[in-house]
């Protein structure tokens, strides 16, 4: 009777234990590291273990390096936190890159034009508000069209990135300093107006504080607030949402404003709390990487910390290899790519089960 059944068939599974899922993910990371080691060996003919050792050194070798790793992790985490509500609603916000940049531009504008007019604490608040507003607007535009006309948000937000990049270039050359450098340079270098102040003896304490608050806030928002509850329902099924009397349009618009706003805050942190300048590289592709962070973490704020840390560690470590072995820093992207491929692929084994046809059923 079963003569037409294939040898292997794939069955969806719904009941995997959480620890099994994590074992699968860890195995995939391990497999990825082995492949990366092979790649490294093929390129530089060096003992991969030594190379991984020097990666560790690059990320945590000195106090300063550790802090930079923390700073970058916070940045990536912040963007991931911003993306989480949108993705949980099944709204593909590929536009974080643009939302970060616009937030950064707003921040830089405040620093440049208001820097001398008000005390830094007030300036920081103004910049914070400006970056929120800018990011929210950038997120709102595609959301309006999605809610009203169901315009494809993946492609819309993607295009918004490039509009933001060009706008950034525009402002960079407008605020060029010194003339002819084609960059804004370090803003307010002398007076440090609008820079994050060093707290508890460290320059990046405020970054950590802001992102921690946002992370906790987002965790609570998604899990305990009415809005978070609505987001889950809309993401699961718009039909159910309508049955429950939820206005799907309003939820889409509201959530994208929030998502854009937090990405805007990431721009604020990047400019005011890290680089103190603005350029098209301010976002540096992190808007895209954070999508993967949010997706892999299944929008769980705490899992995002782990994944952000992993990626930043790889990035920093690979940078170290590059300088140690006289290669260039793009090696990190290759390693990140390989690891992400493996993690993405491993989800299959979490969601599906392979069922092999047993011999006796072939009668």
């Amino acid at each position: 009777m079963n003569e037409h059944k294939p040898l292997v068939h794939i069955v969806k599974r719904t009941d995997i234990r959480w620890w099994k899922a994590w074992i699968i993910r860890l195995l995939s990371v391990a497999a990825a590291l082995i492949v990366c080691a092979a790649v490294i060996y093929a390129i530089v003919k060096l003992n991969p273990l030594k190379v991984y050792g020097s990666m560790w050194n690059g990320a945590f070798g000195t106090k300063r390096r550790s802090w930079v790793t923390v700073r970058d992790t916070m940045m990536l985490l912040c963007i991931g936190i911003g993306l989480a509500p949108a993705f949980k609603m099944r709204f593909w916000n590929i536009g974080a890159e643009g939302q970060i940049l616009i937030g950064g531009v707003a921040t830089a504008a405040c620093m440049i034009f208001l820097g001398k007019l008000m005390p830094t604490w007030l300036l920081l608040i103004v910049m914070f508000a400006a970056s929120i507003a800018a990011g929210a607007i950038w997120g709102l535009i595609p959301a309006l069209f999605k809610a009203r006309w169901n315009t494809n948000e993946t492609l819309f937000t993607l295009m918004m990135n490039y509009v933001a990049i060009q706008l950034t270039s525009f402002f960079v050359s407008l605020w060029e300093h010194p003339a002819g450098s084609n960059s804004v340079g370090i803003i307010n270098q002398s007076g440090k107006e609008g820079w994050f102040p060093a707290l508890l003896g460290n320059q990046y304490t405020l970054n950590v504080i802001i992102v921690t608050i946002l992370t906790l806030g987002m965790f609570i928002y998604l899990r305990y607030s009415k809005h978070g509850y609505e987001i889950t329902i809309v993401g699961e099924s718009e039909r159910t949402a309508r049955y429950a009397g939820i206005s799907v349009k309003r939820v889409i618009i509201r959530t994208m404003c929030l998502s854009g706003a937090i990405c805007g805050v990431s721009g604020f942190i990047a400019v005011s709390g890290a680089s103190h300048t603005i350029s098209t590289a301010t976002a540096g592709g992190r808007g895209f990487t954070a999508i993967i962070v949010a997706w892999l973490a299944k929008f769980n704020a705490f899992v995002m910390i782990l994944i952000s840390l992993l990626l930043v560690f790889l990035e920093a470590g690979a940078g170290q290899i590059a300088s140690d072995y006289n290669l260039n820093e793009y090696a990190s992207k290759i390693i990140i790519g390989i690891i992400l491929f493996f993690i993405l692929g491993s989800e299959f084994f979490i969601n599906y089960r392979l069922v092999f046809r047993r011999k006796e059923s072939t009668r």
């Binding site: 494809n152 993607l158 525009f170 084609n182 260039n328 793009y330 290759i334 992400l340």
Partner: protein, 323 residues
């Protein structure tokens, strides 16, 4: 006058890079796969052609132009095919999310290309600046009679190859059985499956073939647009996203990608030829292709004409539910 001529020439050359990228992506998306890895695949094609040509020009005593073409072409195809296979395996066989996989492929591909592009000379023992005079020249060879026409005087043969490819693809997609099957897979895989079409096979084929065509965009970028050198300035990546935009602009029709790409070229280079622009305002001008694409996206969703909306099953993995 000469300004306009040179604007048109720049627009055509610029347009051809993204045209190849977009043609490949159209083929891919027609099977229902939204591959956001186009920038990565184009980078892979670029670095492949560069490495192939570099290796051959370095190792041969007197490089033969035809072999230069063949070696770099084969290498570009191999690299971009590898990118397409990775994407296909993860999204089609392992059913991972297409957007996330595509973005990862972009990170990987661009990183891979920039890594090797930046350290190629070092790895080869420090030969200084990479240049591929013979290969690049062979790719930029003009076609005898056409080069007498002033407006397209310096246009290399690859540009024409791109146009021909667009027409061939258009015909194949809309006038052949395989094309019909492919479109059915992208529109409604369950119906295609019920009609006896092998959905998985078509998805693999079009994604991999699409990747190779997109890879040609990278090759053209290296050999023609920047004339046989390398620059790790993210130029290919930016053009790769523009190629994704062009797919929407062309409403998934290969033939429309031809004029669409030239229009994008014009929009992208116009600032250069318009008088009175400062450097900053010219940056604003460069948003034009993206703004136009957004406008098209909105317009298409307003009109709801189904042919222009792209394949209905775009972005979804297909799983025939077993009962």
């Amino acid at each position: 006058m000469t300004q306009i001529l040179s604007l048109i020439q720049s627009a055509i050359i610029f347009g051809t890079v993204i045209m190849f990228g977009a043609l490949g992506e159209i083929l891919t998306e027609k099977s229902g796969n939204l591959n956001l890895g186009v920038p990565g695949i184009m980078s892979l094609g670029a670095i492949g052609s560069l490495m192939g040509a570099f290796w051959y020009e370095q190792s041969a005593a007197a490089p033969v132009p035809v072999l230069c073409l063949l070696v770099s072409f084969a290498a570009a195809m191999l690299f971009s095919l590898a990118g397409g296979l990775i994407y296909s395996f993860i999204t089609i066989t392992l059913r991972a999310n297409q957007n996330v996989t595509g973005l990862t492929l972009t990170i990987f591909g661009c990183g891979f290309a920039n890594f090797f592009g930046g350290s190629l000379n070092k790895l080869a023992g420090g030969v200084g600046q990479i240049s591929l005079p013979i290969t690049s020249k062979a790719y930029r060879a003009v076609i005898p009679f056409l080069s007498n026409i002033p407006i397209i005087k310096n246009i290399g043969w690859l540009v024409y190859a791109g146009i021909i490819l667009a027409f061939v693809l258009q015909r194949w997609m809309f006038k052949s059985r395989a094309g019909l099957n492919l479109r059915a897979v992208g529109e409604n895989p369950a119906t295609a499956d019920a009609a006896g079409i092998n959905v998985i096979k078509y998805k693999y084929f079009s994604t991999c073939a699409g990747a190779m065509i997109s890879g040609l965009g990278g090759l053209f970028y290296i050999m023609d647009y920047i004339k046989g050198t390398w620059a790790s300035d993210g130029g290919i990546e930016a053009l790769g996203w523009l190629a994704v935009a062009l797919v929407i602009f062309a409403t998934w029709r290969p033939r429309s990608a031809i004029w669409g790409s030239y229009l994008f070229g014009l929009l992208s280079w116009m600032y250069y030829y318009i008088g009175g622009l400062t450097r900053s305002t010219s940056e604003l001008f460069k948003t034009l292709p993206y703004v136009v694409t957004i406008a098209v996206l909105i317009f298409v969703s307003l009109r709801r004409k189904k042919e222009n909306l792209g394949p209905s099953a775009l972005g979804l993995s297909y799983f025939r539910e077993e009962r």
